[in-house]
């Protein structure tokens, strides 16, 4: 099977997209925050490749064509940011300071816990950019010497967990301001957290999207500094 498909340019592309389409259907049917299509897709594709004894390289030969669009898609995030520029200007200080505090807390927490668990620097570098949107996290991870697949996995786990706890955390810690809720969701759990923020309200969703982009850019600039700690 593997040898037969090794020269195919479209197998991985078609199979990856097909599995993703199935995953969105499953995700809709399950109606749970934890049933993220990307997560379901990852499980389905990995299981299928293992069962059919197909190498990742064979799959990636086709699927990698999709990965080329990651950079343009990230660049396109400039558009939602531009659309919300008024909201950004109005709350500039609160947005920048709170996101910076979040990034600092994130780096310190990951550093401390990596030491506590005795994890390797490689794992530390893979985890550092985990709170931002996958496209930026992947770029940062590659720049500071992380393992890209570990980064993707931790980004997805982060997003799913953040999505699941958003309402509870805001209630326990009495975060009631819509702008603050949005910033918290977007800075902690990027796009998947933004979905949770959108469910809470419109302002929350808009702020979360904004926080995701700003946190992504600031993380790309600042996280390499924290990378030197280990």
């Amino acid at each position: 099977m593997n040898e037969f498909l090794m020269d195919s340019s479209y197998f991985g592309l078609f199979f990856g997209l097909f599995a993703f389409w199935i995953s969105t259907k499953i995700s809709k049917a399950l109606k749970s925050n934890l049933a993220n299509p990307l997560l379901i897709n990852t499980v389905i594709v990995i299981l299928c490749l293992l069962v059919l004894d197909i190498d990742y390289e064979t799959f990636n030969q086709g699927a990698s064509h999709l990965t080329y669009f990651l950079t343009p898609a990230t660049v396109a995030l400039a558009i939602p940011m531009y659309k919300q520029v008024e909201l950004l200007k109005k709350n500039m200080t609160a947005i920048l300071v709170s996101i910076l505090c979040g990034i600092a807390a994130n780096a310190l927490c990951i550093f401390g816990l990596c030491l506590a668990f005795g994890l390797s620097p490689e794992v530390y570098h893979s985890l550092l950019p985990k709170s931002v949107t996958t496209a930026i996290a992947l770029g940062v991870s590659a720049e500071i010497g992380g393992v890209s697949s570990l980064t993707v996995a931790s980004v997805v786990v982060t997003g799913l967990f953040g999505n699941a706890i958003a309402r509870i955390v805001c209630r326990i810690f009495k975060i009631t301001n819509p702008v603050a809720i949005g910033l918290g969701c977007g800075n902690a759990a990027h796009a998947i957290g933004t979905v949770a923020a959108l469910e809470i309200g419109e302002v929350e969703g808009a702020m979360s999207g904004l926080a995701m982009v700003i946190a992504g850019v600031l993380t790309a600039v600042l996280v390499p500094l924290a990378a030197g700690w280990m």
Binding site: T71, A76, T158, F173
Partner: protein, 135 residues
Amino acid sequence: MPYIFQLLVILGASFLGEICNLLLPLPIPASVYGLVLLFTALMTGIIKLENVDKTATFLIATMSIYFIAPSVSLMTVIADYVDSLLGIVVICCVSTALVMVVTGKVSQLIMEKSKPTEGVVSSDGVSGKEAGRDE
């Protein structure tokens, strides 16, 4: 027809971002340079919103599928990191909750006081305490 020019703009920003990444000695991914460049172009009016809107919206709406290959690549490394898995999951969950609380609380405090300087002082105290506690 509008799609061709819109795609040209976005790919142009991506390409310029790549050049920045190659020329500048900073560990910032090409995509972030591109994002900042395109945002600047929109703010200064060099590029109009309607010149990128449709294609950008399409790219963002379909973003998930561009992650298929990187996420499946987990199968190639997972065996090497089985020992670290528990730690990785714990770190992801703890730090996510922490960042959400710190960011939400700090921004709320600043907006309540609406005096930026005071907000900065108290916010630093919060993030330091929270981060210290969780270590």
